[in-house]
Amino acid sequence: MKKIFALLMLTVLLASLVPCVSAVESGWEIDYSDSVDWNKFRDQGVTLNVYNWGEYISVDDGEEGAFDVNAAFEELTGIDVVYSNFASNEELYAKLKMGGSQYDIIIPSDYMISRMINEGMLNKLNYDNIPNFAYTNPQFVNPDYDPTNEYSVPYLWGIVGIIYNTTLVDAEDDVHTWDILWNEKYANNILMFSNSRDTFGIALKRLGNSFNTTDEEAIRAAAQSLIEQKPIVQAYVMDEIFDKMIGGEAALAPYYAGDAITMMADNPDLAFAVPAGGTNVFVDAMCIPKTAKNQEAAELYINFMCETLVALKNAEYVGYATPHTEAFTYLDEETQTSVTYPDDEILAISEAYIALPDATTALLDGLWTDILSTGESSPWVTPVFIVVCLALTFAINAFKRQKKKKTNF
């Protein structure tokens, strides 16, 4: 009985902590555009499930000028935002495809958007509810992944490059090539993406192919080179990279330019290089999946994300490039000319991912599992295992027989 009292006490004690949470306030007095009725859903108990990449929105991190986007939206519209993260496009896809989850807003990348459009997983947007779409840089309107621009509103964009630690990488070595990720000198010092598309993209580009090749031989060759690379890879990571690169745990890693800038701010030894052989340019855009419960409220959220101040704060916090024309003009000059906004020269050698045919996607997924599962476990593991198993079984039986003998005495 005493145990239960003690536990109930614990429960009560912990539960009493919860009501202390006051609603987080954005702490900002802002004039939002009046093109839409922000109060339309106030006091109706509307909740929006937003599913976004990790560290991909401005939050209140205690720094000066911090702006909590979701809190501001809740304050302005009275809609509750339930915000959660995914780590890669493929993870997002799996979660949606599996079913049972009802997200209202998702922010996948270009190629995943076209795959989702093809598979009928997205709703068409009503752009009347998103007047702020007009701020979108024309360069990003009617993109290849959504040719008629019916499904998506660009959020942020960027390029992939190599982030490296200048104290760990030889100055003589050329970091402007994907080859350096295969350099055995840096064995156990290299991190790689833990998602199939980015990893295969690098391997394909290194071998002189397009990111979007459907040639099975080229893809298999890329898989082979990734298997060869595996022994010198320290870890396959996504968001874990921040901790590892900032802490000086690894020398080289391919990653997104915007995140590289964030890491460089925390560790001055880090630098970023764009491979001369070409790299990937990507756009992440806001979409509404078929499972969404409240399309109009979701569109209100998307419109809010395109408010100039919000777009600016997001771009500043996340460090990625914004497709928002107004927000761009408010950025300081240093950012505008930084690697976040690559020059035409780099853009000229950059290539976007496009949706691959189902057959190629299946091939990539299968090969990716193969790459990760081909361990270094030597072939003698199997015989040893079998011998141990047999020995154990014998020992058990022998023991039982002995025990029986004893009891029979």
């Binding site: 890669s88 993870e91 799996a94 599996m98 000086g248 745990e249 593991v381 295992f385 154990l392």
Partner: protein, 311 residues
């Protein structure tokens, strides 16, 4: 009591059917089926054929045409392919079993003296020590594993310590050794507990009697304590081995994704980067069968049920 008391179990039997039997049946169903695309006439199309048909369709009717008019639909059909595909990943399964086995043996070797020590203490001290051994389990296991990352990293606490005496740095994290360490750390209390609960039942007088009859220390351990603690050993082995062989977080956090275990592969197929629930179900099925086999082996060791309590 009487026959009507049986009825009390009725809601539970219903529950059991829906939440235990049906889910496992679903795994079997998923493992032996696959989703294919069929055309309007019911012919199964390969992925290449689908692309071909779609391309032809768009060419004929233009890019804006509604693809639904093509009449392709999805259908679930029986297949053995998933099970056959699993053999490709047998290496990973064997690797998981191997690492889990090492971890289990280490746990046994470490836990045995501890359990023995605690069980020979005075009653009040026994309770305290046991509580202290279980206390770490109350911390979230992800956090504890994360703390190991802090300790094992290249610039982590242990390497800093080594640096003070002029050693290292050593590569400790992202190795198989780190994964085994994570398993041992997380599941060691599961070994201590059952061992302790059988050892505490061994009467000190039994040991004293053996000593009086001239047995030395090793003989006492080998001929008296060890045989009497077999039920604890077998349930300890199960309680460590099963979670260790199927873990997917420890290997991801401490193994860096380069030392994949079967659990990681299953996760990869369901909620990870290579969506294929049918293959994932097949892997789960193989794992499940293997575990049930192991259980039947350990169960045969001790016929009496040993009950283990956490608190």
């Amino acid at each position: 009591m009487n026959k009507h008391a049986k009825l009390a179990a009725f809601p539970y039997l219903l529950w059991m059917a829906v939440f235990i039997i049906v889910p496992l049946a679903l795994i079997v169903v998923f493992a032996f089926t696959t989703t294919v695309t069929v055309d309007a006439d019911g012919n199964i199309l390969t992925a290449e054929e689908i692309t071909e048909v779609q391309d032809a369709f768009y060419e004929e009717y233009g890019e804006d045409a509604d693809i639904a008019e093509l009449g392709l639909s999805e259908k679930t059909v029986f297949t053995l392919q998933n099970i056959l595909d699993v053999s490709k990943y047998m290496n990973t399964l064997l690797n998981s079993i191997w690492l889990a086995l090492i971890a289990t043996v280490i746990c046994l070797v470490l836990a045995y003296p501890v359990a023995y020590f605690i069980s020979r203490l005075h009653f009040t001290k026994q309770k305290m020590m046991l509580m202290l051994a279980m206390l770490p389990m109350w911390m979230n296991f992800l956090l504890r594993t994360y703390a190991w990352m802090t300790i094992l990293e290249r610039n982590g606490l242990l390497n800093r310590l080594f640096a003070l005496v002029g050693l290292g740095p050593f590569e400790m994290i992202n190795t198989q050794g780190a994964v085994v360490l994570g398993m041992v750390y997380n599941y060691l209390p599961f070994m201590i507990l059952p061992l302790y609960s059988v050892m505490t039942k061994i009467d000190s007088r039994t040991i004293e009697a053996a000593q009086d009859l001239g047995a030395n220390r090793l003989t006492v351990i080998g001929r008296v304590v060890l045989p009497l603690s077999v039920p604890g050993i077998s349930s300890g082995i199960t309680m460590v081995f099963v979670p260790a062989v199927s873990t997917f977080i420890i290997s991801r956090m401490l193994g860096g994704g380069t030392n994949m275990l079967i659990g990681d592969l299953i996760d990869l197929q369901f909620l990870g980067n290579a969506y294929n629930p049918n293959l994932g179900a097949a892997m789960s099925l193989v794992l499940m069968v293997f575990i049930l086999l192991c259980m039947s082996i350990t169960n045969s060791i001790d016929n009496e049920e040993t009950e283990v309590s956490m608190l």
